[in-house]
């Protein structure tokens, strides 16, 4: 039984606190994998000074829950934690955090990667960048869609 925690929030998060929650009373897990996504100063070739994250309240939480559920059915995981921020962010701010824990490292690595790849394609978030020339919505990238191919069952 995987413990799943999902948070969509405007406030920042503390990865040390998240990590402590994963370790608490946990003597069975040998492996924890974490992903943290940050606002970059340069994106797709242009300077960025801020980032606004819009989302679809209600569907956001459902889609993250659904992705976590899929991961928990595919790998033997003890914990899944997903935090995604929305609203106005600055350069270097934390955007997203995904952590998975398991007895074994292959499951922890694969599931964390899987969750990020699906989140990028399926969770209803949209980024609007503050650029020197004005605000622009970020274009979805084909490579993010291609990233899902590795999770398809082999023919």
């Amino acid at each position: 039984m995987t413990q799943i925690h999902i948070n969509v929030q405007t406030s920042d998060f503390d990865i040390a606190q998240e990590y402590a929650s994963l370790r608490e009373n946990n003597t069975q897990d040998g492996a924890i994998v974490f992903f943290s996504g940050l606002v970059r100063e340069m994106n797709q070739g242009h300077g960025v000074t801020g980032l606004f994250l819009e989302h679809y309240p209600g569907m956001t939480e459902k889609s993250l829950q659904d992705i976590a559920q899929q991961a928990s059915e595919r790998w033997p995981l003890t914990h899944i934690r997903i935090i995604h921020r929305v609203g106005q962010l600055q350069v270097s701010d934390q955007i997203v955090f995904v952590a998975t824990s398991s007895s074994h490292r292959e499951a922890a690595f694969a599931s964390c990667h899987f969750i990020m790849d699906y989140l990028k394609n399926k969770a209803p978030f949209w980024k609007k960048e503050t650029r020197e020339q004005g605000d622009e919505w970020v274009d979805a990238l084909e490579k993010d869609q291609i990233a899902l191919d590795k999770w398809q069952p082999k023919a």
Partner: protein, 82 residues
């Protein structure tokens, strides 16, 4: 009645975040789109493109998915979170 939502650049392009539609239901997403375009002909270029994704009751669906009275339908561009 069907509740229709728009997000991100689509919301800005249509200058609309939400509206209610009375339609003979059940119909499908494509029929709902066509109804919206009949009411707002300038929306066609923004709605009739495979760049627009759809959700019914907060789950992504394709354009053949059926829609019925009381559903919440959303249209939005490809997602860019993470």
């Amino acid at each position: 009645m069907i509740k229709v939502l728009f997000f991100a650049q689509l919301k800005e392009l249509l200058q609309c975040s939400q509206l209610n539609v009375e339609l003979a239901t059940p119909c499908d997403i494509q029929t709902l789109k066509q109804h919206l375009i009949n009411e707002h002909p300038d929306w066609e270029v923004h709605l009739n493109t495979n760049k627009v994704l759809s959700a019914v009751n907060q789950r992504m669906v394709d354009v053949n998915h059926s829609v019925k009275h009381g559903d919440e339908v959303a249209f939005f561009p490809p997602v860019t979170g993470g």
